[in-house]
């Protein structure tokens, strides 16, 4: 029985990686084929731009001052829409159940989904940053490298918890409401850290000045991903 014997060491690791990868591959294929998700999300970013402008009024300086917050607000709003649907494909045809029956460490599924969500969120971010730079006439190119670091850390922070909670709320009533209600309070530290760091970077401060924020983000990311990996099997079991 080929699947029965426990494969030692390296095979187990590569099997895990393979499963995480195939989950990513599958989601990518589905997304590319149905296109419903990503296009709408990117268009949503454009709409947000208008929304913020209208909400804050024509005063250039006011917008500039609020910029770091708006960037991350936009990002989180897009995240709420984009991440909540992470496991929607699994609801069809009982695929969720099918995943439960697969052998091995279920956290590979979480990892694959997380990777997919990070890619999605990164795409959203890049679009947002470009739109902001263009429409609000802000120089985001100079601090691009350190900004990218903050973005990356913030993305993992959002996606790690978002993926876990998305898995949970997929099976629960009032899913669309419960997901943001659960996610937002937990995201507060990530939001504070990323906005503060972004603000400092946009004011021209060096990376060293925001090191403590980066450390906080990195630490938080590590904690969230670890909890995600450890608890995903309990969520899947549903």
């Amino acid at each position: 029985m080929s699947a029965c014997a426990k494969e030692p060491g390296r095979s187990a690791v590569s099997g895990y990686a393979k499963r995480a990868w195939i989950v990513l591959w599958k989601d990518f294929l589905i997304e590319r084929r149905s296109k419903e998700h990503t296009n709408a999300l990117l268009f949503f970013c454009l709409l947000l731009l208008f929304l913020f402008q209208f909400a804050l009024g024509p005063d250039r300086d006011r917008l500039a001052a609020a910029l770091p917050g708006l960037l991350w607000l936009g990002f989180i709003l897009a995240g709420l829409l984009g991440l909540g649907r992470s496991f929607l494909a699994e609801r069809e045809n009982d695929c969720w159940e099918g995943l439960r029956l697969t052998p091995g460490d279920k956290s590979a599924i979480y990892l694959g989904k997380l990777a997919g969500n990070c890619v999605l969120m990164t795409a959203v971010e890049v679009i947002l940053v470009i739109l902001f730079a263009v429409f609000y006439n802000v120089d985001l190119w100079t601090p691009a490298a350190p900004l990218a670091l903050v973005l990356a850390l913030g993305t993992v922070g959002l996606a790690s918890v978002g993926t876990l909670f998305a898995a949970m709320t997929t099976q629960v009533r009032a899913r669309e409401l419960l997901f943001p209600v659960l996610l937002l309070p937990v995201q507060v530290p990530v939001l504070l850290a990323t906005v503060s760091a972004t603000q400092a970077l946009l004011l021209g401060q060096p990376l060293a000045d925001v090191a403590h924020w980066l450390k906080l983000l990195a630490g938080a990311d590590l904690v969230y991903v670890t909890i995600g990996l450890l608890t995903f099997e309990f969520v899947l079991e549903g």
Partner: protein, 235 residues
């Protein structure tokens, strides 16, 4: 292959499966008859390790399925209402995904062989969304074949299929049995290939009221027995 002992499943005060026991050897097929709500799906899900019974014991392939479900799962092939297919992937991609998730070998040749066996090789690169119910069912069986399951658990496999489809599933089961596998088929209709069953069981109100070799009962006798037990509640 399967040894179930006093399996019980209750939800609060609602008893869905009530002390079901049976054994099934390799190369045998057990047909579970019963009206809707008799507990067939629940029982099947317990056998598939998808549901933990409230009480009882279950051994599959000699392994304690309740204590070590992970060891038992590679042996199982479940085809339920859902059939576990991703609508936006092609048949081939679906197989590839599930086979790799299972930790098996997803070589293109193997995938193609499985598809050929279920006569889906012609539509290997079509999206499943375009498939009929019967085709999706066949794809699910291909998945199970690829996974080298030794125990098949089929929940209403004949529903929604035309005569040709039903014949096909029966033949599939026959081949599976000949290769030494064991199968439990839950159904609420008599139309579906009882001819392939070695044993027949009638599940009612969560209890296995009848468990007899198929050879003992003729089709008419079975029908009468079933009617008397279900008080003629036809479905």
């Amino acid at each position: 292959m399967i040894a179930a002992q006093e399996l019980r499943k209750t939800y609060g005060s609602n008893i869905v499966v009530d002390g079901v026991s049976f054994t099934l050897g390799g190369g045998q097929c057990l047909a579970l008859l019963g009206p809707n709500g008799a507990g067939k799906t629940t029982l099947l899900r317990i056998l598939a390790t998808l549901l933990r019974p409230t009480a009882g014991a279950l051994r599959v392939g000699g392994v304690d399925a309740l204590r070590e479900p992970e060891r038992v799962r590679p042996l199982l092939g479940m085809v339920a209402h859902g059939s576990y297919v991703y609508e936006d992937l092609t048949a081939r991609e679906n197989l590839r995904f599930w086979e790799i998730m299972r930790g098996g070998d997803a070589a293109p040749a193997r995938l193609m062989a499985a598809l050929t066996q279920v006569e889906l090789d012609g539509v290997a690169d079509e999206r499943v969304r375009t498939f009929s119910a019967g085709m999706k069912r066949r794809l699910a069986l291909a998945r199970v074949l690829l996974g080298e399951a030794r125990v098949l658990l089929l929940d209403e496999p004949f529903t929604g299929l035309d005569r040709r489809g039903r014949k096909w599933v029966s033949e599939f089961l026959q081949t599976f049995k000949t290769a030494g596998g064991a199968a439990v088929v839950a159904t609420h209709s008599f139309g579906g290939g009882l001819g392939v069953a070695d044993r027949v069981g009638i599940l009612m109100g969560g209890r296995l009221l009848v468990d007899r070799p198929a050879a003992d009962l003729s089709g008419a006798e079975l029908h009468r027995l079933y009617e008397s037990l279900t008080d003629g509640t036809e479905n």
